[in-house]
């Protein structure tokens, strides 16, 4: 088991990279959405006269 793991460390590195990529993509979408939401909130507040 250990011998195989030493010979081929690729799968774990791939899993880590894939998860990091996936999380970074989701984070980018969430941050973009948050900025857009703040923009809309600002417009609504201006509309309410606050």
């Amino acid at each position: 088991m250990t011998k195989v793991a030493d010979e081929d460390p690729k799968p774990e590195a791939e899993i880590i990279r894939a998860r990091q990529r996936e999380r970074a993509r989701i984070m980018a979408w969430l941050l973009g959405g948050f900025v857009f939401l703040l923009f809309l909130i600002t417009l609504a507040k201006i509309g309410m006269g606050k």
Partner: protein
């Protein structure tokens, strides 16, 4: 095949999502929306949406912190053993950071989008669930669900306050309804999964006081809850539509609770009455709050 400790890997977003207890969140979001829609003032759509988003995120944060604190307990119960922390797919520190960050974000965004009172209530509800219920009461007293139920009762009140900026009598009734609904709802469940709670040494009422005492308590709370749910109608806070719905739903709830109180079964597979009450209690809350909104918007 390489052996990898899953908790040592970067957290999968699905596990972080599972930390927020999405199943519980459905009821939280629904009651919050109803609280907001029942208010006499309607905020702009984006403000209302953000208020509900913040309540959902706050509930998610509370759920994450609950799972962070109770990972050892969850590992002992069949119902919760597959959650990300007890299953070893996530490390505890990530869960803690995620919960604290999400909670702080939800409160700050609530203050920015709506008002300080709604933000304070949201912060109190998160802290109440995590500190009062999870840390203090759950492992110490059989009344854990009774007092802890207050945490789940906040969403409609916060929804209302996000819209109006004030605490009024009707949202206090909405708070009281969920507060009184929680014990019969959870005790019905805990009757047929009590071996799980006993194994985890959680002092739920059926484990501590026995099955018969729990059934009596379910009936008492069901009667008080049904009365509290009807009360806004004679007080002139709602119309006949809500009044009729709350009276019918409350009557059915009490009838089902009487059937539970009369049941002598001790084996989970013979607890059809308890399972029926548990299932109906969820429907009860959905229909009751939907009736409140319908009453506010459909009646002249």
């Amino acid at each position: 095949m390489q052996m990898t400790n899953p908790a040592a890997l970067p957290a999968d977003w699905r596990d972080l999502y599972a930390l927020t207890k999405p199943g519980v969140m459905r009821l939280v979001v629904f009651t919050a929306i109803c609280g907001l829609l029942a208010a006499p003032v309607m905020p702009p759509l984006v403000i209302g949406f953000t208020a509900i988003l913040c309540i959902a995120l706050g509930a998610g944060a509370a759920g994450a912190l609950n799972q962070w604190y109770e990972a050892d307990l969850d590992a002992k119960m069949k119902r919760t053993a597959k959650r990300p922390l007890p299953a070893g797919r996530l490390d505890r520190q990530t869960a803690l950071h995620f919960g604290v960050g999400l909670g702080a974000f939800s409160v700050i965004l609530m203050e920015l989008a709506t008002n300080a009172l709604a933000a304070i209530l949201l912060a109190v509800s998160i802290l109440f669930y995590v500190l009062i219920y999870t840390v203090w009461l759950k492992r110490r007293t059989a009344q854990n669900i009774v007092i802890g139920g207050a945490a789940g009762a906040f969403p409609p009140l916060i929804g209302w306050v996000a819209a109006t900026g004030r605490i009024e009598l009707l949202p206090v009734f909405l708070f009281a309804i969920i507060f009184l609904w929680t014990p019969p709802h959870f005790w019905a469940l805990s009757l047929f999964v009590r071996s799980d709670y006993a194994a985890a040494k959680v002092p739920m009422l059926p484990v501590v006081a026995g099955v018969a005492a729990t059934r009596r308590q379910i009936l008492i709370y069901a009667i008080i809850m049904a009365a509290a749910a009807v009360a806004p109608w004679p007080l002139g806070l709602t119309g006949w539509l809500y009044g009729a719905a709350s009276a019918i739903l409350g009557a059915v709830f009490v009838v089902f609770a009487i059937a539970v109180a009369a049941n002598k079964a001790t084996e989970p597979k013979e607890m059809g009455q308890e399972k029926r009450l548990f299932a109906f209690s969820i429907l009860y809350l959905f229909v009751l709050f939907a009736a409140l909104v319908a009453d506010r918007w459909l009646l002249p």
